[in-house]
């Protein structure tokens, strides 16, 4: 009998694809099973509690959850405008001879292992930041009403803000590269027509390129946010690793990924390990929710545009 190679090929690739799904489900099951003791012991209180006491076996995830969100949001606030600017410069303004070296530099930056960023952050960035920038921040911004609480405290160099800045440096190459690619596929005809009508570069960028490349830009932001959520080693170096929740961005904090890296190996006792695994589950859910909402948003946008 002739073998139907097409059928076999299809079958094999299908298996590969299902395998991914299987692993995803297996991870979810593992996380839920592993965190069951903690879920039973603390229930929903886990995500709002600030306790983290291995002796009295009281665990709560609020400081790490808040830390994960805060550092990632800081990273986006700094990273998105800069990435946008880089992509804009590379596609519209840069002289041709400079484009190639700049692209290579960006790719190199993206390829640096995260632990290097952590070491650089701790040994080079944090001391400089702590002795030059943080005193200024706490002296000037720390006195402001309302906003002031975010900028009070001793200039340690390390802390939530430092972690956010290091994260932003790490995600910029990724976001900028994706944005550059999506800006590049905007048809020249559209842009040139706008220029012909007397639009400035900024006009073209805002009214032609950005609407055209919206989905891609959203995608790049999600990519950056996803990386910021899960980044472990670089954050563990500079975030300060404390389970004490403080309002100030200059004070040390913690993130889920960093807490796991720090504490998992020597967590003794069922409840301690289970609480750490539950933190992992929370991170998994946050990332899934992020993906879900960004897809939803894009769908809404597409619908709106179709009208």
């Amino acid at each position: 009998m002739e073998l139907n190679t097409d059928l076999i090929f299809r079958f094999i690739t299908q298996i590969f694809t299902y395998f991914v799904l299987l692993i995803l489900i297996a991870i979810l099951i593992f996380l839920v099973m592993g965190s069951l003791p903690a879920i039973k012991a603390f229930g929903l209180h886990f995500i709002v509690s600030t306790d983290w006491n291995p002796i009295s076996k009281q665990f709560g995830g609020l400081p790490t959850i808040v830390g994960t969100l805060t550092t990632s949001i800081i990273a986006l606030l700094i990273g998105v405008p800069i990435s946008f600017g880089i992509a804009l410069f590379l596609t519209e303004l840069s002289p041709t001879w400079l484009k190639h070296p700049l692209r290579i530099a960006m790719e190199l930056l993206a390829g640096i292992p995260s632990i290097i960023y952590g070491m650089w952050g701790l040994f080079v960035f944090a001391p400089a930041f702590g002795s030059h920038v943080q005193p200024w921040l706490s002296q000037h911004l720390g006195k402001l009403p309302i906003l002031g609480v975010f900028f009070q405290g001793p200039p340690l160099g390390i802390g939530v803000l430092t972690a956010g800045i290091i994260l932003s440096i790490m995600i910029i190459p990724f976001m900028a590269a994706v944005m550059r690619d999506v800006f590049a596929i905007v048809p020249d005809m559209l842009k040139e027509s706008a220029y012909a009508l007397g639009a400035t570069t900024w006009d073209v960028e805002r009214s032609i390129v950005l609407p055209y490349a919206k989905i891609g830009v959203m995608g790049s932001i999600m990519l950056g946010l996803g990386r910021a959520f899960g980044e472990t080693m670089a954050v563990a170096f500079v975030v300060g690793n404390t389970h004490i929740l403080s309002a100030s961005l200059l004070m040390p904090g913690n993130t889920i990924a960093s807490a796991l890296a720090n504490e998992f190996t020597e967590a003794n006792g069922e409840l301690y390990s289970a609480s750490l695994i539950e933190l992992g589950l929370v991170l998994f859910l946050i990332t899934s929710a992020l993906l879900f909402f960004s897809k939803l948003l894009l769908k809404k946008l597409a619908k709106y545009e179709a009208k």
Partner: protein
């Protein structure tokens, strides 16, 4: 048909070789012993292993995965011995069918980052250290600190507390000592390999704590003495139980170990912190080895004991070269007695 024959041949060959390999493994005496656990004694165990292998050909494969990991691994019987800086109580040992014995002694020292202060210059006491780590003493010129250091002018600088972010035997000894000397610490925080630190920043490992202290002016932390010494960190003096201010030195660790009551301590559950004697360094501790009390593979268990027996006899100099201190002779005699008494061979 041809195809099938080839497959069969390959199969036969494969099984034959596997059988041969298996036979080899079981026939010959073991060539290596495996251990896992505490990172504190790792440099020394590695050194001992190298010396021991050169002499006997027996290899030691030790993985420094941390005290907690060592306990898990020996309970799961995946290693021949586990190592931990935190001893198990007699009850815990019994529950898990384990025995333990100390191997080596080391000290933990506070380190500080203050302008113009040299190693060994600043004087602290246990209760002051507890006050700092509780967040009650906030400035370096606090009367509690200046009273101990009348010869130094201390700055009006914020104290930044640095502790371990991972769970560790070093933290266990440090918090145990603070609990011993300060009731408020005992009531509010307690002692364990990881605790709910009231204030401060967490660094991973000795290196993490040391680098934070060095980065932050006004910082204070605690590390193993070997680490502080090798990296020229600014360690402090501490007042011991006898009331003398003392430097962290190998002879003061030795003194603490010599002043401990090895004879009357059940299952070597012995913490060498806050020992009597005017030369005793107050935060001294031993590192422990855990083994199954019921040895299913006698060859492995015996090889482990032979290794440590050799280390007790000939390993002291290597230990001192790495800033550890050997056990007192009386302790070693007791350990060997306990081996004979507590381990069952099958």
């Amino acid at each position: 048909m041809r195809f099938l024959e080839i497959i069969m041949k390959i199969n036969k060959l494969f099984f034959a070789s596997v059988l041969l390999l298996a036979a080899n493994i079981y026939a010959s005496p073991i060539e290596s012993i495996t251990g896992a656990g505490a990172s504190f004694p790792y440099p020394l165990y590695a050194k001992w292993a190298e010396m021991y292998q050169a002499k006997t050909g027996m290899k030691l494969n030790y993985q420094a995965i941390g005290s907690g990991g060592g306990m898990k691994q020996i309970q799961a019987k995946t290693v021949d011995f586990g190592a931990s800086d935190k001893p198990l109580s007699a009850e815990e040992l019994k529950q898990n069918g384990l025995i333990q014995f100390p191997t080596i002694i080391g000290g933990i020292t506070p380190i500080v980052n203050l302008a113009n202060i040299k190693p060994g210059q600043l004087k602290l006491t246990g209760p002051v250290l507890a006050g700092i780590y509780l967040g009650k003493i906030k400035k370096w010129n606090d009367p509690a600190i200046s009273a101990l250091n009348s010869n130094i002018t201390l700055p009006e600088q914020d104290i930044t507390v640095v502790h371990r972010s991972d769970s560790s035997g070093t933290s266990f000894l440090f918090t145990y000592y603070l609990s011993q000397v300060n009731p408020a610490w005992k009531a509010q925080v307690g002692f364990d390999a990881a605790v709910a630190w009231p204030v401060g920043v967490g660094g991973k490992g000795n290196s993490g704590v040391a680098s934070y202290v060095q980065r932050i002016p006004g910082g204070i932390g605690y590390v193993e003495f070997a680490y502080a010494h090798q990296n020229q960190l600014v360690y402090t003096q501490l007042r011991n139980k006898a009331g003398t201010f003392i430097l962290p030195l190998m002879k003061t660790f030795s003194a603490a170990a010599a002043n401990a009551d090895w004879q009357h301590t059940e299952k070597f559950y012995l913490l060498l912190t806050d020992m009597p004697g005017k030369n005793s360094w107050p935060i001294t501790g031993a590192s422990f080895v855990l083994m199954q009390a019921n040895q299913e593979q006698a060859t492995h268990g015996k090889a482990v004991l032979q290794f440590f027996d050799w280390a007790y006899r000939y390993g002291a100099q290597a230990a001192r070269d790495l800033y550890y201190v050997e056990l007192p002779a009386q302790a070693i005699t007791l350990i060997k007695k306990s081996w004979a008494k507590e381990i069952k061979w099958n």
